[in-house]
């Protein structure tokens, strides 16, 4: 990985919440990673592992308690607007405005993300053609099927042409065909040179899609590397077995295999 190409950089990132019943909760506990263009970086973890919190810090919705993160060189804490301008964020909780048409939705998100106004119409036209959504672009989103909404939603995420895309559990709630379509689109975007951060708890998706995988557990990265390097490090073939191996190890001996930054390079 050439560090000069780094699009996303995360260093010793921590996030602590206060919960009335549990006191201070370390949702993210010192994680470090970086991403490059044309890469799908997977965050694999069970529910509550800290995936969404990490991605929310990257998208500046949450502020890190400690550590730093940047997107395209923009610090998430000091340059939140510039950071978001370089991001496309897609998750199950990023729905579309139901009363707008597909076209209005794309135009709105291109403009609000500061895409050059004179190029918006052309860009929207390109997105419409690319995702094959011409037929229903002038229908209100509330009238569309879930598959149609998904396509408009992906187009909404990339309409301002951000170099970094975050997909947080994007296949949650989708049927099999739509989930396959989603994976296909993410691959295409990767091939176009986008940096993609993909979070999921579904092993098969991560296995198929991600160039590098970070196994996240209790806010810490237990292992990070390509699927092949993780296989070599554990002598296990399936990602599910690899995941269980690291989690069991971490649960058995708290902190074992975890470096000072909380990162364990499986390839070492």
């Amino acid at each position: 990985m050439n560090t000069s190409d780094t699009t996303v950089s995360v260093a010793d990132l921590k996030k602590t919440f206060f919960d009335e019943s549990r006191g201070e909760v370390k949702a993210v506990d010192g994680i470090t990673f970086s991403c490059v263009p044309g890469e799908v970086f997977g965050l694999l973890g069970a529910n509550g592992a800290g995936k969404t919190t990490t991605l929310r810090m990257l998208s500046t919705v949450l502020k890190p308690t400690e550590g730093s993160a940047s997107v395209m060189g923009h610090d998430v804490l000091n340059e939140p607007e510039a950071t978001r301008e370089n991001l496309g964020f897609y998750s199950a909780s990023t729905s579309l405005y139901p009363r707008l048409t597909g076209r209005e939705t794309l135009e709105f998100f291109a403009r609000i993300n500061h895409y050059p106004p004179e190029k918006v119409a052309k860009r929207v036209g390109k997105m419409v053609a690319r995702f094959g959504i011409e037929e229903y672009m002038n229908a209100r989103v509330e009238k569309l099927s879930s598959g149609m909404k998904q396509k408009v939603s992906i187009a909404r995420t990339v309409v301002h042409d951000p170099p970094v895309l975050i997909f947080d559990e994007p296949t949650v709630g989708l049927d099999v065909l739509n989930a396959i379509e989603m994976v296909k689109v993410i691959r295409q975007l990767r091939d176009e040179g986008k940096t993609i951060i993909f979070s999921s708890h579904i092993m098969s998706e991560v296995e198929k899609l991600c160039d590098r995988i970070a196994i996240l557990h209790r806010g810490r990265i237990l292992a990070l590397g390509t699927l092949e390097s993780l296989r070599q490090a554990t002598s296990l073939h399936y990602l599910e077995d690899i995941f269980v191996h690291y989690v069991t190890e971490a649960e058995g001996v708290e902190g074992a295999g975890i470096g000072a930054t909380g990162e364990f390079e499986a390839s070492k």
């Binding site: 206060f18 201070e24 949450l62 502020k63 939140p80 607007e81 978001r84 009363r99 709105f108 993300n113």
Partner: protein, 415 residues
């Protein structure tokens, strides 16, 4: 884009645009038609009145005058108890008994007392009682006149210490009084209603539809998001207020004038200068209510919760002009001008009455603007809290205000 989206939502169009336009014409037409209808009903029906016992000698004319009334049907009853039962059953409206005069009155030969039994809970029965009372009053007056003349007492000696009163107010004054009571109330209702749905729609509605995170992950700054949302809600509130004022003026000419054309008691004319003052008042009120409603609704996770959280503002806003409506002799003062909602309500009423207290009007508008600035600053402050931003804060504005006074609170884990 928010406004375009809002104009496709039926409830927002109805409450923020259609209702403010059509409320006055429809309401005025309904009210006056209902009043005329009820008046016709009261005057039209025949009171069924029964009489028990005989009249004292020499007073048969009293019965004659009752029978002579077109709206009275007189019957004889032998038994008081059964007649009372019939009144309670709704078969009779009133029962008249002639009894002996009491104490000092008994000294006069032939004097008697008229007892009317009726059911106060029934409108028909109350009217019957009033008709009997009127007839007896007229009979007494005629009798006294005749007796006095027979004794040689002339009218000049008989009519003493008479109280007369004359209403010097013009029909325009009475019209202004009427409009001064209803206009601030309706204007407040319309502005509050105009801002109500958009304020909930753009905050709690966004959370419910899961579009909030879509919005906050765009590159727009938090300040511009708050401002844009506020401008949307305020625009709808202002639209409702301005349309309401315009609709009122149109209604006065097109609906109220024909209805009142036969009446010389009330005439509605509003000073031309009142229009801009009312418009400015409506705008100030809309800006203030929009900000307050938006802040409260932003803590809700669902549209329904949002409505529940905003309703107190709505009710308080309506209550203020309702209470001020009772104080018809008050005008805008420095004190009232400092009270949001009350200041605009009073300012509007004064304007309708042709009273323009400019220093206090300026004060009232300044107070509203200060409230708006404070509300927006508060909204921006609230947006700094992550648990609010990601929707994991579970509580109302009041709980939020209380919790944030505790320094250890950092936030809650996202759902």
């Amino acid at each position: 884009m928010e406004i375009r989206s809002a104009l496709r939502e039926r409830s927002i169009v109805v409450y923020s645009i259609l209702l403010p336009i059509f409320m006055y014409p429809i309401l005025l037409w309904v009210v006056f038609s209902a009043m005329t209808f009820v008046q016709g009903l009261n005057e039209g029906f025949v009171s069924r009145i029964a009489v028990v016992a005989e009249l004292p000698e020499g007073h048969a004319a009293l019965i004659d005058s009752l029978e002579a009334r077109e709206n009275v049907e007189l019957t004889r009853e032998a038994d008081t108890d059964s007649a009372v039962d019939r009144i309670q059953a709704g078969e009779l409206d009133a029962l008249i008994s002639f009894l002996d005069a009491e104490e000092d009155g008994s000294a006069l030969p032939g004097n008697f007392r008229v007892e009317v039994r009726y059911d106060r809970s029934e409108g028909r029965s109350r009217t019957a009682s009033e008709r009997v009372g009127q007839t007896v009053d007229e009979y007494r007056s005629d009798w006294l006149e005749r007796e006095a003349e027979a004794m040689g007492v002339g009218e000049a000696e008989r009519v003493l210490f008479v109280l007369t009163s004359e209403n010097v107010s013009t029909s325009e004054d009475l019209g202004a009084l009427f409009m001064g009571i209803i206009t601030p109330l309706f204007l407040t209702i319309m502005v509050a209603m105009g801002a109500f749905y958009p304020s909930v729609d753009t905050t709690a509605g966004e959370r419910e539809r899961s579009t909030w995170e879509t919005t906050i992950t765009t590159s727009a700054s938090r300040a511009s998001m708050v401002t844009a949302k506020y401008l949307y809600v305020a625009t709808m509130g202002v639209t409702a207020g301005v349309l309401n004022v315009l609709a009122m003026f149109v209604s006065i000419g097109a609906v109220l004038a024909p209805i009142l054309s036969g009446s010389d008691e009330i005439s509605v004319r509003i000073p031309f200068l009142a229009v801009p003052v009312m418009m400015v008042g409506a705008v100030g009120l809309a800006l203030m209510l929009s900000a307050a409603m938006m802040i409260l609704a932003s803590f809700a996770r669902t549209f329904k919760d949002g409505q529940a959280m905003v309703q107190p503002v709505y009710f308080v806003a309506i209550l203020v002009p309702l209470l001020l409506g009772q104080q018809t002799d008050r005008t805008l003062t420095a004190g009232i001008a400092a009270v949001p909602v009350a200041n605009v309500a009073m300012m509007v009423r004064d304007a309708i009455n042709g009273i323009f207290l400019w220093p206090f009007i300026v004060e009232a508008l300044a107070v509203n603007l200060i409230m708006v600035v404070l509300c927006l600053a508060l909204a921006r402050f609230i947006m700094r809290f992550e648990d609010f931003l990601i929707g994991s804060f579970d509580g109302s504005f009041w709980r939020f205000a209380k919790d944030r006074m505790r320094p250890r609170s950092i936030g809650k884990e996202p759902a």
